[in-house]
């Protein structure tokens, strides 16, 4: 019961996951930001231990092996990579990298900032990165994030695919070497990354857990390291009690700009209902997403006046068509449904303006994203919708489905009302009991109804909203959407020589996707966070984590 079922537990991986939290929220649009403060009390910052809600990590805290939020938020505290993301705008910025430049169309040269050290005092050098990336990519090391290195030269020599799939009895062959040939050390503070094809967008990815540096002690004795993780971030590991709590302390020799102000933080692993009660009673300092019992009837607003807020996170709400069902093969029908939904009205009436309609396949705070790729197809236009609908030859009622335990009923019913009114055809909401059930049906490609499908991206880049979902064979392409033009455009964007050009191509790919509309983008989905009375300077990062470097105690 540690993790709320509606949050489907650690099952919500940072890696592109379905968002099941549904928030019907009120808010303080236009009023002052309750999280902003005038700063804390320096003495209390030193003495008070800030407690933050968390869930037990699913794996040891090795960054390249951590893909779920519970472990992810701790890994993010313990490590700082070459880049990180601005906690407010989500823009990537240099962190441990002094410079990160394209020196050839297919080659990046990284220069590291000097004097950075791991928590054990050893310096962070080019080798810390090269060794860590080699370790992560080398197949037999069995790291979850191995595929993040696929574009680097020599990946095929360190990672061999499984000849008969995961279920088959054959194991992948032992790779030729355990070093990526694309990584070359120039000096202790400089190294080059060579790609098989130009991959300008790579730079923006390197703030993600997969790309963290590792100290020498990890390679010498991984088991000992796992018992006492050593990172290079603003926080160092102190102690943990399994399934209960994990303590970290400010690393005073941290050279990054996001140096923490409070001295001690404790991640508390508990049930989210209990955590909510704790925050209310000031027993816990921070909860990133309040549970449904607090969302119903906007209870959180009265429970926690001035200490709760809806924050944007890298997440969007959408509904998808099971394209493998021939019923849904008409693009006119899919456009008709999209144009029948009045996004403005629903976000205003049900979410009281706390969510904004989106007109593309990602959200505003994501670098490289430009709203509007969807164009007229995402504008409310009942007449045009009806016209397209009549052309599509659809017969029978329209059914929308979702898990019943995530608070999605209200908006789906409202959307259904729009559809019914505009298209003159019966539309019903058919809830399924649990998220797991619907996930199973989606995985087995057995969906027959239009279904809800939200996204939470793992690093802020428009690339992460498109490639996994809309590319043929993409890891999360759940409705088997396939358009060679889109694939070509996305491939071109991946191989673009500059990020600007990449962003332009991604936008063009998005326009192509909107023409097919395999899924209908609706609005962004913020997260409602709550904190105790003693915290000030509170804000949530786009990754749905408390900004630990900003928070203070008053």
């Amino acid at each position: 019961m540690r993790r709320p079922r509606w949050l489907a537990a650690g099952a919500i991986p940072i890696a592109v996951a379905l968002i099941i939290s549904g928030c019907s929220s009120g808010g303080d649009e236009g009023s002052e930001d309750p999280g902003a403060g005038t700063g804390g009390d320096p003495a209390k910052n030193e003495s008070v231990e800030v407690t933050v809600f968390g869930t037990e990590p699913e794996r040891p805290l090795v960054p390249m092996d951590t893909s779920e939020t519970g472990g992810g938020k701790i890994v993010d505290a313990l490590f700082t990579g070459l880049m990180d993301y601005d906690p407010v705008s989500g823009q990537p910025r240099e962190a441990n990298a002094e410079s990160f430049e394209l020196t050839a169309p297919d080659e990046y040269t990284v220069k590291l900032k000097k004097d950075w050290t791991f928590h054990d005092g050893t310096p962070v050098t080019s080798d810390s990165y090269i060794d860590a990336w080699n370790y992560a990519a080398y197949g037999p090391n069995a790291q979850q994030h191995a595929s993040f290195f696929a574009q680097i030269q020599g990946f095929d020599d360190v990672f061999t695919p499984d000849p008969d799939g995961v279920e088959g009895p054959q194991l992948p062959a032992t790779p030729k070497t355990d070093k990526l040939s694309g990584l070359t050390k120039v000096s202790d503070t400089e190294f080059k990354i060579k790609f098989t094809k130009p991959h300008a967008i790579f730079k923006d990815k390197t703030g993600y857990a997969a790309f963290m540096p590792m100290p020498k002690s990890f390679f010498a004795d991984p088991e000992a390291w796992k018992k006492n993780p050593v990172g290079n971030g603003g926080w160092k590991y102190v102690a943990r009690v399994p399934d209960q709590e994990l303590q970290v302390e400010r690393y005073d020799d941290y050279k990054g700009e996001d140096k923490p102000k409070v001295k001690k933080v404790k991640f508390v692993f508990t049930d989210s209902d209990a955590a909510y009660a704790d925050v209310k009673g000031n027993q816990l300092d921070f909860l990133d997403t309040v549970p449904p019992q607090a969302i119903a009837g906007n209870v959180w607003e009265t429970d926690l006046p001035g200490r709760a807020k809806a924050y944007p996170v890298m997440a969007i709400q959408a509904i998808a068509f099971p394209l493998y069902d021939p019923k849904y093969s008409s693009a006119d029908f899919r456009h008709a449904v999209s144009m029948a939904i009045n996004r403005e009205q629903i976000t205003k009436t049900i979410y009281e303006g706390n969510r904004q309609p989106i007109k593309g396949y990602a959200m505003d705070k994501v670098p490289g994203y430009e709203d509007g790729a969807c164009g007229d197809f995402c504008e409310y236009n009942p007449e045009k919708a009806k016209e397209l609908f009549d052309k599509s030859g659809w017969t029978g009622p329209i059914q929308l489905t979702s898990n019943a335990d995530g608070g999605h009923k209200e908006w789906i019913e409202a959307a259904c009302g729009n559809i019914q009114e505009a298209l003159g055809v019966e539309c019903t909401f058919e809830p399924v009991q649990a998220f797991g059930q619907i996930r199973d049906a989606i995985n087995a490609r057995q969906m027959t109804q239009i279904y809800r499908s939200g996204w939470l991206a793992d690093y802020p880049s428009v690339e992460n909203f498109l490639n996994p979902i809309y590319r043929t064979g993409g890891s999360s392409n759940d409705n088997d959407y396939s358009n060679p033009e889109v694939d070509a455009k996305l491939a071109a964007a991946d191989a673009a020589e500059t990020t600007d050009e990449a962003y332009k191509l991604y936008h063009e790919a998005e326009e192509l996707i909107a023409k097919d509309m395999p899924a209908i983008p609706l609005w962004n989905t913020p997260s409602i966070s709550a904190w105790s009375e003693r915290l000030t300077n509170v804000r949530l990062t786009p990754k749905r984590e408390l900004d630990l470097s900003y928070v203070e105690v008053k």
């Binding site: 592109v16 893909s67 209960q244 049930d271 209990a274 009673g281």
Partner: protein
């Protein structure tokens, strides 16, 4: 007596092996691989899945897995979780908390339930009887999570006379309220069971005899009536200790208690078979020992029952 206890102890062995094997088998009979879904919406690298299956010997035949597990268990090694934490440590942290919670709950339900049962059983119909009848009906009708949330909101937030949740230390005093919530349903059963048992035994032959011998009322009720009426109640309370230890998931969730129920529930969701079996091993032991103890109590309570 000694031979009976020995025989019962020997019987524990096959029951223990059977129960643990069944649980081990059932945990892995649930469809789904614990590792393919671990990397979120991305498929996990095959090397990762293979390495994990190998590490936790999930490729072996279920019987071999079980034998491996049990032989490690005999040396005191409960194995590791997928996050490579010691399961023995997890259990040793959670079990005392759950045991304390269960003991608090049983004590509360025994004291309140038996008292209410005796009073109503002796007096028969009247205001008190109706009051207990209605309030127990009320307790039986409300699900635990309602009782839990209501008490938490009223006492914790509105009256502010206690902290709404239990700290990770889970001291005895902190567990009184959760214990009350947890025991409230059983409390209703205990009071009804006691009442029925007393009302029935009140008319028993031995009661009339004792009365005819002119014994004082206190002795008749305290020794003759209560002792004989206690058997069904003790049986109920005994099995309840085990139930409350493993089945307090809802209460543990509301009050944020790090107990065995939450541990096993999460483990089932994550398919951490080793944790589930480890906890069940413990619960089976508790059940078996408590049952043995209760059977021995029968002989103490009812002179007609003899072992050997």
């Amino acid at each position: 007596m000694g031979r009976y206890v020995l025989r019962r102890m020997l019987q524990l062995i096959p029951v223990f092996i059977g129960a643990t094997f069944l649980i081990y088998f059932l945990v892995w009979a649930v469809p789904g691989d614990p590792f393919t879904g671990m990397c979120g919406e991305r498929p996990c690298p095959p090397q990762f899945v293979a390495a994990m299956n190998d590490k936790y010997s999930l490729n072996d035949n279920i019987v071999i897995q079980y034998v491996k597990y049990m032989s490690a268990l005999l040396t005191g090694d409960f194995g590791q979780t997928y996050s490579e934490q010691s399961i023995g440590e997890l259990i040793s942290l959670a079990a005392p908390v759950s045991l304390r919670l269960a003991v608090v709950a049983v004590v509360i339900e025994a004291v309140i339930g038996i008292t209410a049962g005796i009073l109503t059983g002796l007096r028969g119909r009247g205001f008190l009887d109706n009051l207990v009848l209605v309030s127990t009906l009320f307790l039986i009708a409300i699900p635990t999570f309602v009782t839990g949330f209501v008490i938490q909101i009223v006492l914790g937030f509105q009256l502010e006379i206690l902290t709404p949740t239990v700290s990770s230390k889970a001291t005895w005093s902190e567990l009184i309220i959760p214990g009350f919530v947890l025991g409230s349903l059983s409390m209703a059963y205990v009071s009804r069971l006691t009442r029925a048992s007393i009302a029935e035994n009140r008319r028993a032959d031995y009661m009339r005899t004792a009365l005819a011998k002119g014994q004082p009322k206190r002795r008749i009720v305290g020794v003759h009536l209560l002792r004989n009426s206690a058997i069904p109640v003790i049986t109920f309370l005994g099995t309840d200790i085990g139930n409350l230890m493993g089945g307090a998931i809802v209460t543990e969730g509301i009050f944020g208690i790090h107990g065995v129920g939450r541990l096993v529930f999460d483990a089932i969701i994550d398919k951490q078979g080793a944790i589930v079996t480890g906890v069940v091993v413990l619960l089976v032991l508790v059940f078996l020992l408590v049952n043995l103890f209760i059977d021995l109590m029968y002989a103490v309570l009812d002179p007609r029952i003899r072992y050997d």
